[in-house]
Symmetry: C2
Subunit: 159 residues, 2 copies
Amino acid sequence: MTRPAVILDELDRKIVAALVANARTSFAEIGAAIGLSAPAVKRRVDRMREAGIITGFTAIVLPAALGWRTEAYVEVYCDGAAPPRRLAEVVRDYPEITAAMTVTGGADALLHIRAADIQHFEEVLERIRAEPFIRKTVSQIVLSHLITGSPESGATNSR
Amino acid sequence: MTRPAVILDELDRKIVAALVANARTSFAEIGAAIGLSAPAVKRRVDRMREAGIITGFTAIVLPAALGWRTEAYVEVYCDGAAPPRRLAEVVRDYPEITAAMTVTGGADALLHIRAADIQHFEEVLERIRAEPFIRKTVSQIVLSHLITGSPESGATNSR
DNA sequence: GATGAAACTGGAGGGCT
DNA sequence: AGCCCTCCAGTTTCATC
């Protein structure tokens, strides 16, 4: 799945950083900043898209503006040896679950959930708890964000 | 901060969905899909950007491809009445912290951290634990993702 | 093999009806 | 909101080192 076959040099990293900061930055502008021509930048971007390093471009939207004002992380504890495959299938049926992952620690999985409001969240939670192999859940409702930025964006500085 | 003054109709929502799916979709293409002309689509997008509903456009990058192969959620417990303001300042100094939020429950805050590897993560964790008002931390290291997609993307279906 | 320059194509952006 | 027009960026081709 993940093929780190393509090696990224400093120029590639700068191009990625520029596109993450603003996906609409023109190739000419990026090129001017790093000392490359527009076609050269495009070739590198195409290569990185082909390699799966850049998987797409998306608009950043405030979930609250779309009516999703409640956000929570839910730890899921399963019965016995809960198969992650089975959990993945269930999780896919909930549009409110925006991220799901297996984690170390007592919980089997951690879910990120977006709901319209607390009532909606409770309803989703009850549906999840009703799944056959779910033993218990522990919810942490997000009160406020201390920093802006998505959990999916990688750190931007060098190590 | 958040002004839900602008009302989004069904067309706006479809435009947003199209741009979230692919920020490079042309206005003409979006217009053809929803029965609007390209300039009309552009005007709506401009209006939503002005209103702060669409805050920008970004490239989706696999963190692993950039060398960030370890991901974790860390619950932070603070001494006494820890001021969230103070925590926000500290959190800003760590590029490895890609998200930080206050949450309900025993923990005062939840951090999302990306590190190059376990060694790097441990180093970051030790630095965080050395902060004066941090009492303890509880880490959940992400093993694998069950579904793809960013926690920041809103649910896509209607309620 | 990758880069830079030039030519072509298509969408963005503004004004007008 | 739709139509038209201008301009610029994206994209391809070709020559170069």
